[in-house]
Every structure is written in structure tokens, then in C-alpha cells.
């Protein structure tokens, strides 16, 4: 009982981090909220570690901690410093509209229609629908944001929320594969990091809409 409440708290924090990712103008805040989000994932993993007492999960936790909570934010902050891009590029929709759509997406995620998804583990329905809504939110984030960093963070948080969903739906993989996935993400982050700096070099900003020379 206690546990469920705790988990719900975690999921809500995750959800909130996504909202803040949506609303924030500052890149720094965005990275911070991503860090929080990742730590939420770590905590959730910890929780399942305490449930299953499976020592190997600990390795996964460690990897996740290092890659997502520590390294990724560091990278991004360095990037922000180096390129002096304090403010992230603008969005397509203004704040009120965003909030409306966020609400709508959350509503959809919680709707009865999606019970086949959210009802995989009936006990965790609330958590699952929260995870689902954060999936939708992160997709929306990527669509709505023009900043390169925001898109990267969007993708990463999409990955986080899918992970959360997987955990609560009881679909974890064998440890090896989980580590493989984390490693993949790690490489991905590095490449994304390099790409962002290259993009900045070529286009003088992180605004992805400046990249529209390849048409038809």
C-alpha cells in the first residue's frame, strides 16, 4: 500500500518533469528536469530491486545512474556553457495551448479506450496510464520544440517513460539485454552530443528549423 503510493509519487514527479520540460525556456532547467526524471527511473528500479532481491538488477541501476543521472546532464550542461545557449529555441505553440494539449493527452492516456494497454497489470493501472501519458507528452515535446537540445531530451525522456511503462507492466528483460539497452543509450547520448555541437558549428544555433535546405 505504502509502496504503491510511493510509486505513484514517483510517476507523478516524472510526469511533472515532462511538463516542466515543456514549459521551461531555460536549457539548464531542462537538463535538470531530465536528471530528476532519470533519478526517478533509478528509484523505480531500486524499488523492483527491493521486491525481487535480484542482485543483478543492481548493476543495471548503477549503469543507469551513471549514464542518465550523471553523465548525460553533465554533457548537456557543458554544451550549454560552450555554445552559450542559455535559452532554448522557441516552441510552435504558446504556453496555454501547450497546457491544453498536455491535458488532452493525459486525458487520452487515462481514457477507458486504452485499458488494453494500461490494464496489462491491473494493479498498476494508474502508474501505467501515467507512464503512457508521459510517453505521449515526450512525443509531443519533440514535435513542439524547435531546440535541438529539447528534441534530444524529448527522445531520452521517451525512452525513460517507455522503461517505466515496461517496469510497471512487468516486462523487464534479462539483465544482459537491459545493460545492452543502457549501453546503446549511452552511445546514443554521446553521438547526439557530438551532433549538437556540429549542428551549432554549421548553423550557429540549436534551432532545428534552420535545417530546411533538403526539400522535395
Amino acid at each position: 500500500m505504502m509502496n504503491i503510493l510511493f510509486l505513484q509519487l514517483l510517476m507523478s514527479t516524472m510526469f511533472l518533469t515532462l511538463v516542466s520540460l515543456h514549459l521551461t525556456k531555460k536549457n539548464f532547467i531542462a537538463t535538470v528536469s531530465y536528471a530528476i526524471q532519470s533519478s526517478v527511473i533509478v528509484l523505480i528500479l531500486l524499488n523492483s530491486f527491493f521486491e525481487t532481491k535480484n542482485i543483478y538488477i543492481f548493476i543495471v541501476i548503477l549503469a543507469t545512474l551513471i549514464v542518465k543521472v550523471i553523465l548525460a546532464p553533465l554533457f548537456f550542461n557543458r554544451l550549454i556553457k560552450k555554445n552559450a545557449v542559455v535559452f532554448s529555441a522557441s516552441t510552435y505553440l504558446n504556453a496555454p495551448l501547450m497546457l491544453i494539449i498536455i491535458a488532452a493527452l493525459t486525458f487520452i492516456a487515462n481514457s477507458q479506450k486504452l485499458t488494453p494497454l494500461t490494464g496489462i497489470v491491473p494493479g498498476n493501472q494508474v502508474l501505467l496510464s501515467l507512464a503512457l501519458s508521459s510517453i505521449l507528452l515526450s512525443l509531443f515535446l519533440i514535435i513542439n520544440r524547435k531546440g535541438a537540445l529539447s528534441q534530444i531530451l524529448g527522445i531520452l525522456s521517451l525512452e525513460n517513460s517507455i522503461l517505466a511503462f515496461a517496469i510497471f507492466a512487468g516486462l523487464e528483460q534479462s539483465i544482459g539485454l537491459q545493460i545492452g539497452v543502457v549501453f546503446d543509450i549511452f552511445i546514443w547520448i554521446i553521438i547526439a552530443f557530438m551532433f549538437m555541437s556540429m549542428v551549432y558549428k554549421h548553423f550557429g544555433s540549436h534551432d532545428v528549423t534552420s535545417m530546411k535546405n533538403l526539400k522535395d
Binding site: K113, L114, L139, I142, V208, T209, M211, K215, D216
Partner: protein
Amino acid sequence: MTEIITSAISFFSLIILFAIGAIGSLLFRKSDKLANLFGSFFAIAGSLYGLIFSISAIISGSVLSFSFKLPAFPLLALSFHIDLLSEFFIFVISLIALFCSIYGIGYAKHFYQKYSLGALGFFYNFLLISLFLVVTASNGIFFLIAWEIMSLSSYFLVVYDKNDENNVKAGSLYFIMTYAGTAFIITAFLFLYKYTGSFDFAAIKANVGLIPLAIKNTIFILALIGFGTKAGIIPLHIWLPAAHPAAPSHVSALMSGVMIKAGIYMMIRIFLDILQPAPVWWGLVIVIIGAVSALLGVLYALTEQDIKKLLAYSSIENIGIILLGLGSALTFYSLNMPALALLSLMAALFHTLNHAIFKSLLFLSAGSVINEVHTRNMEEFGGVIKYMPQTALFFLIGSMAISALPPFNGFFSEWLTFQSLFMGIFQLQSFVQWIFIIAAGSLAFTGGLALACFVKAFGATFLARPRSLEVTHAKESPLSMQVGMGVMATLCLLFGVFSGYTATLLAKIGKGFTIFQNTVSPIAVASNQGINITNGFASASGPVIFILLVVVLSLVAFAIRYVVNKNQKIKIGATWDCGTDLTPRMEITATGFAQSIVTIFKRILKPSIQHEIEYHDVESRYMMKSRSVTLGVGDIYHAYLYKPLHKVINVLSTRAKNIQSGNINAYISYIFIALVVALLLVL
């Protein structure tokens, strides 16, 4: 003996011969001469063999049918069915191919050091192979393959002279049109497959009853468009006058003489053989199309100054005439008058044969003139007859044959066509009768206009004084070319004089059809070769007309020259010039000759005229430096059919390009939308 000749093996050895020619000439491409000789030799050998094969097969009346299954590919089987119809077309193909190849030896010489002769031989032989396969294949997919190879090889022959921008353009137009046509054919076959469950012609024919009428009609329309594109019926003809002139002349001859007949062959095969019984309106539609194509074709031919374009348009006209025969055959059969149907079919087949002969003869002789004068524009010819007398004679014979002047072959096939139309008028009722009346009328006018057209062609090219310096350097063409043309010219006469015998053979071929198996032949041939149609409705005799002409002519000539008075002198003087000195510019030109007819038919032809005047001094527009007048004929098909079509596609494509806007957020939203839509569908 005939068993050996008319066997699967010999058919294959026939194909092999061409294949050797194709590969060989490609291997020898380093040496132009060798490649040319090698390719031509095997082409000649192959077509000669094909001639023997087809003749012996027709005479022995044997029907071949054999098939190879390919394990790897389902539905596809290399199955051949060589019945009398196929044999007839094999005969036509190999006949024309033979003389075109002979002609080609000499003609291809002027490509030496210019283009690869290897490629020429390769594609030429492959064109021949594909033609043979097209008229013998009896599996839909196999047929389509042969058909496409035919289009492909002919495309490469059209763009063979690739340094000329226009040829490449013409080639593109041709291939796109034929590709679209093939799409229609494929659809037709798919319909057949859907309802009969097979691509094999025999099987389709057996289960044709399973096809509902509506589908049958759809198939008819699809096939008509598909094969009509290849046959060049109006308004699907636009590629033909562009593509045929572009190719080397002996290839143009082959294309105009034979390749477009492949379309006719398939129409006969599908409409008259496979899809029977058919509703009446099929035949009527084809008759109308034939009438229109014939009349418009010859009108456009009249307006042309490019001699090969003129010939190409006249091919459209003759296709129209053939379709008149075919259409009336269908109509008669649907109204169950099999005898008349057989008559019309014979007319169609006969004209197919004749047109093949004289059209290739004309293309060949035009080719040898072009070869000497280095232009296709008739305005720059004139007086060629003095420099190339033989060629002129051959062209004259060709012109007489194509304008249906007795005793040449063209007359008799047109005569048969006329007779079948007359019988239609005679025996049918109400609006069907009226369609036949209109058809007969258009055929009559077509005859007259064709006469005018070829008077123009011959006169402007060969008669009067040279209108360009090039002409005065012209020399008679080499032997091989003369042989090619000469034999064809003789054939024009022979097939005319012995039209009776030919007619009996055609009747035999017609009886090869399932639907005509027990039909009494509508024609009787007297001992004097006189053809007699449906117990004395009409009759004519080639030999008698010929002999009468010869005898009377010689009598008259003899009487006038030697009887009336012998001691009469002939002075050579100048043409009366009204006191001025006569320059070539005073002669009538090709344009001038046709001008009155163009003016009369201006509603259809939409002639255009543009003046361009250049002044010495632009301010004071008194001193005129040069004035050029451009006469043209409005291309209504392009303006009202093809341009709009192209426009629509263009608009659509420009719209579609907006999808690829370059904005990544938009791209991602596509994915999101796709996802949502798909989810909404299942939830």
C-alpha cells in the same frame, strides 16, 4: 519434309539464328563492317527460314502447340501456340524482315565510324525475335515479356541516331506511350486471370464463359486502348509520326510494316478468337475508330513536309482501313453472319499483308533518297528521278499500290474491305447500317485523299527541278538496297495479280479460327483468278486487268509511234516560263500542293501561320531584311488530351512535394499522426 520444317525444333532454330546474329554482332562490334555483315546475314538467314517455315506450315495447314514450364516462376510458362493466324503473321514478318535486312546491309554503311553497328545488329535481331515470340506466345505473361522486349529493342533502335535531340525526344515519347499501353494490357490480362484463373490463352478461351459481360466489355476497352496504342489508332497515335521517322529507314520500314501489326494481331486474337461471343457494339466501335483513323491519318499525311512523317501518318490511315475490316468482321459475327465475317477478316488480313509490303517498300526507297540528300524535308528534294531512276520507279510502284490503283495489291485488299462494308450496308438495318455507310464513305474519301497524298509525295520528291544543291550530288543507291526494294516492288504487283490465289489462302487461314470452322467461304476464285464474292455480288480479276493494261498500252503505244506517222521529230526545249527565267522556287512545293486541301479541312486540321519579319532598321520599319513564314497544323490531341493530363500530374506532384517540406518537426508529427490514426482504427 514439311513435318520436319514445321516442328517445334525448327521454330526454335529459327529463333536461335536471330539470337546468334544479335550476340555475334555485339561481339564483333569493334569492326563495323564485320558486325554489320554478321548481324544482317543471320537476320536474312533467319527470316528466309521463317518464310519457308510459315509457307510450308500454312500450306500443310499444321498447327503447332508446345510449352515449357519454368519451375522457378509460377503462372509463367513458355508456351507457344502456332495456328494458321500466327503462321500468317510469321509469314508477313519474315517476308518484310528479309528484304529490310538485305536493304540494311547497304543502308547501314553510312553509320560506320559514327555509331556502334554492333548495337544496331543486336537490337535489330532482338526486335525480330520478339516479333516472332509475340505472334506465337500463348501465355499472357510470356506474351507480355515478348511484347515488352519488342518495345524495348525498338526504343533503342529509335534512339539509335542519338546525336539528334529530336530522336531522343521521340524515343521517350514512344516508350512512355507504349509503357502506358502495356499497363492497360496488363490490366486486361489481370481481369482475364481473375475470372478464368489462368494466363494461358487456351485455358482462358475454354473458360471464357465464366467472365460476366460487364467485365468482358471492360477487358475489350482496356485491350483496345492497350493494343491500339501500339497500332497507332487516333488519338493514341501521337508517338508514331515522331518515332518511326527517327529510326534508321530499314527499321522504320520494319516498325511501320510489321511492328504496329502486332497490335492488330492481338486484337484479332483476343476479340475474334478468345473473347467470342461478343456484343455487337464492339465491332461498331472498332469500325468507327477505323474510319476516323483512316480519314484523319491521310489528312495529316497530306499536311506533312517530312517524307518519313508522311509515310508514318499514312500507316495510321492503313491501320484504320485494317480496323474497318476487323470491325465489320466482329459486327457480322455478332449478328451471326459468319460468311460475311470471314470475308471482312480476309480483307483485314489481306490489307495487313499488303500494307506491310508497300509501306516498307516506300520507307526503304524514301530512306535511300534521304541517304543521298541528307534531309527528310521534301521541300529540299525535287528532280531526284533523274539521279536515282530505279529508286524513283520503286517509289512510284509503292505509291500506286498504296493509293489502291489496280492491278497492284493495295487495290484488291481495299476492294475486299469495300465489299465487306457494302455487304454491311446491303444486309444490315437501321443505325448499324448507317455506321457502315459512314465507314464506307470515309474509306472512299480516304482513297481519294491517299491518291492526292502520294501524287504530292512522288511529285515533290522526284519530279521537276532540284530545289537544293544536295540533290544534284545524289547517286543511285548500292545493289543490296536496290535488290531489297526491287523485290518488294515486284511483290506489290504479284500479290495484286494473283490476288485470287492469295484470297483462297486467306480463306483457309480464316477457317483456322474456331468460330469459322464450318463457315462456307464467301469467295470463289475462278480459273482466271477472278475473285467472286458471295455468289456474284461483286467480282474482279487481277490478271485480266493487268493483261488488259499491258496489251492496250502496248497497242496504243505501237499504233501511235509507228502507225500514225513515223517521221515525226521531238525537240527538247525549255519549260514555258512566261518570259522570265524559271527558277526552282517557282515550282509547286509540297506545302503548296496540299494547301488547298488543308484550307478545305481547316476546321479539323487547324492550320496555323506565323510571320516573322526582320527589319534592317528597327525604328523605320520600311527596309525589310528577311521575312519568314511558318505554316503548321494544330495538334489538337496534344492540346486537348495530353497537355491537360500532364498538367494534372504536374500539379499533383508539386502538391506532394510540400510533404517533404524540410521541417523535422513536421516529419515527426507525420509519424505521430500515422500512429494515432492507426490506433484509432483498432481501438
